[in-house]
């Protein structure tokens, strides 16, 4: 079809994934706007670990296919291009961070304050029909775009999405002022969880990773304490070592936010907690793992899952970046043109950089 059409001749150039290692630039129809919708001219798209997974495997449980390819990209920012007839809170030209999933608003979870569980959620880059932001024009809803002040760059605004994940996790595990928090994993989401925990008043935050260079960045970025977990040691050994380092052997920490998905890290996290402690699983890894369930019982832990973000999370994330409380710029490691999106995914897959950006379609 449009493999011979050049991007510059397309109305709405978009990058679609057809299967593992199979992506094509195509011209997609410019979306039509409903009463409360907005059309965003995409400025930047960030690369997330899940994008790499999609590129390599075609998806998680739901995969893309040649009959239902999807446009990739869900961490995004842009300017409002046009608005639906009843839109009153944004106007063309406004610079915004974009929350990439618009719910139906009618189902039970939507009305109960959990729109992230919406049965008909249309989430960017989610098979089978959630088209994402690696496109020129992306449709969203008025209340799912968040204005950013002039002093915040559109590239920085891409970080609102992973920060919203961090806000959601920290709220779910209910970090309270004075609590001791450990974050497992020093990738983008781990860093965000650590920063938000500090904002929420944690007395101390320790980030854990197996790579020293990531811990070095974390120390410089948000002044967190760090701990290097040893691959060769057991979960019990690693947790004992960490607690000793910080003088917490007597009981343990109040909160663990798991942001790596790695089985050994999950195990270590459980052992770090004091009795009555709280744990939230943000990271995604193997679907089934071996879990220290007796420790969970004996310590009467509160363990919960964490999925994307819900009401109020994007607002707080936008506010934290807008007020300069979180330094989003420092996380941006590279920016590649729209035509080099695949190379951005592959670089991320090789562990290069923290947040790699893809620029939107140029005029």
């Amino acid at each position: 079809m449009s493999s011979s059409t050049r991007i510059e001749n397309m109305q709405n150039p978009s990058l679609l994934l057809y299967g593992p290692k199979s992506a094509k630039y195509e011209d997609r129809p410019i979306p039509e706007l409903g009463n409360h919708d907005v059309l965003v001219r995409i400025a930047y798209v960030g690369v997330c670990g899940s994008d790499v997974h999609f590129w390599n495997e075609g998806g998680f449980t739901k995969k893309v296919s040649t009959s239902s390819p999807i446009t990739m990209g869900h961490e995004t920012s842009g300017t409002i291009h046009s608005i639906g007839p009843l839109v009153s809170t944004v106007k063309p030209g406004d610079r915004v961070a974009v929350e990439p999933g618009v719910p139906c608003r009618y189902c039970k979870p939507c009305k109960a304050g959990s729109y992230h569980f919406c049965k008909d959620m249309r989430f960017a880059a989610a098979p089978p029909d959630g088209h994402g932001a690696l496109t020129k024009f992306f449709r969203s809803a008025e209340d799912f775009v968040y204005k950013i002040p002039e002093k915040v760059g559109l590239d920085e605004a891409v970080l609102v999405e992973p920060l919203a994940v961090g806000v959601h996790a920290t709220r779910l595990v209910d970090v309270r002022p004075g609590e001791k928090v450990v974050v497992m994993g020093s990738g983008t989401v781990g860093l965000m969880c650590a920063a938000v925990s500090k904002v929420f008043g944690a007395e101390s935050v320790v980030i854990v990773d197996i790579l020293e260079k990531k811990l070095e960045f974390a120390r410089g970025w948000f002044g967190c304490e760090t701990f290097k977990a040893e691959m060769g040691s057991s979960a019990e050994e690693n947790s004992e070592s960490l607690l000793e380092k910080f003088g917490l052997e007597d009981d343990g920490v109040d909160v663990v936010i798991e942001a790596s998905g790695a089985a050994s890290s999950i195990e270590t996290g459980i052992h770090l907690l004091r009795r009555g402690g709280k744990y939230v699983q943000t990271g995604l890894g193997k679907p089934k793992i071996e879990f220290p369930i007796v420790a969970l019982s004996e310590k009467e832990l509160m363990v919960r899952g964490c999925f994307r973000y819900g009401p109020g999370d994007f607002e707080l994330a936008t506010s934290l970046i807008a007020r300069g409380i979180i330094d989003a710029k420092a996380l941006i490691s590279s920016t590649r043109p729209f035509e080099e999106a695949v190379s951005a995914w592959e670089a991320t897959g090789r562990g290069e950089g923290i947040k790699n950006l893809i620029k939107g379609v140029e005029d």
Binding site: Y106, C110, K111, A112, P311
Partner: protein, 358 residues
Amino acid sequence: MTTQTATQKNPSFVLQAKDKVSYEDRPVPDLKSPYDVLIQPKWTGICGSDVHYWLHGRIGHFVVESPMVLGHESAGIVAAVGDKVTSVQVGDRVAMEPGVPCRRCVRCKEGKYNLCFDMAFAATPPIDGTLARYYTLPEDFCYKLPEGMSLEEGALIEPTAVAVHITRQAAVKPGDSVVVFGAGPVGLLCCAVAKAYGAVKVVTVDINEERLQFALKYAATHSFTSQRVSAEENAANMKKECDLGHGADIIIDATGAEPCIQTAIHALRNGGTYVQGGMGKPDITFPIMAMCTSELNVKGSFRYGSGDYQTAVDLVATERISVKELITGKVKFEDAESAFKDVKEGKGIKCLIAGPEE
């Protein structure tokens, strides 16, 4: 009047202005969205707020500026459905949740649509109510009545949902002692719902002996006749007579009356919870020192939110509460005004107005 409404397309019972009601033939409403449903309300109950609009033409800053159809506590039969409706079909009997939120504002999205800034609520100006041949609602605000539930019981779901919401705000849990001030329909239903939620002691309070006797038969375990003494004395007497020890765990006010509110604050144990459900004087003298030193948890409660209407239907459907006994009168559509007069005079518990005859 009877023949007139029978030949009209959409006969409606309208509040023209304070103290003046009449019947009008209003246009049959359109289905504005493919998710909307057209219903024929068959039974409508009346509440104190309807009477208040009738008598005063306003409640707070809600002012009746142009003629408005009355009624909001209804159940009816589905007459037509929009293209995308899947949960109900023509002929279904439904309880009607009369307040439709915007679904987009911060309150709606955080799960508190009863606090929506742009709530469109039946018979709250300027939104027309349900005392008409036809009314439209989105499908997710229509709740199918199970086989054994009558449309009359369906009309009681609205005040039941109010009671469910109040009881949820109060967080009544198994083992609690609960006091409910006011033995009108909402107070009675709060007693019933509190019991269903596991309260071991439910005290009904009123100044009317007849209502108290009814409440004891209906759902309460104890009753207390409120006296014209100081709030502290009233509270002390109630705690003694009803064996409440240091005070109740939870007190719900379903009167809005100042002496009740004051007594309630003095009748709670430390750390107890108070929920304001009833509406009366906008400003009152409040025992704030007692609230502070007893470290009470004081909350408002407004209409009903996510899940409350369905819970109300389920409680009645599974017979954990019963609403039939609360229906003390039924009148024809043409006699709607007389029902309003009865409620104003405090007669009966719940009087239902039939929808217009075909």
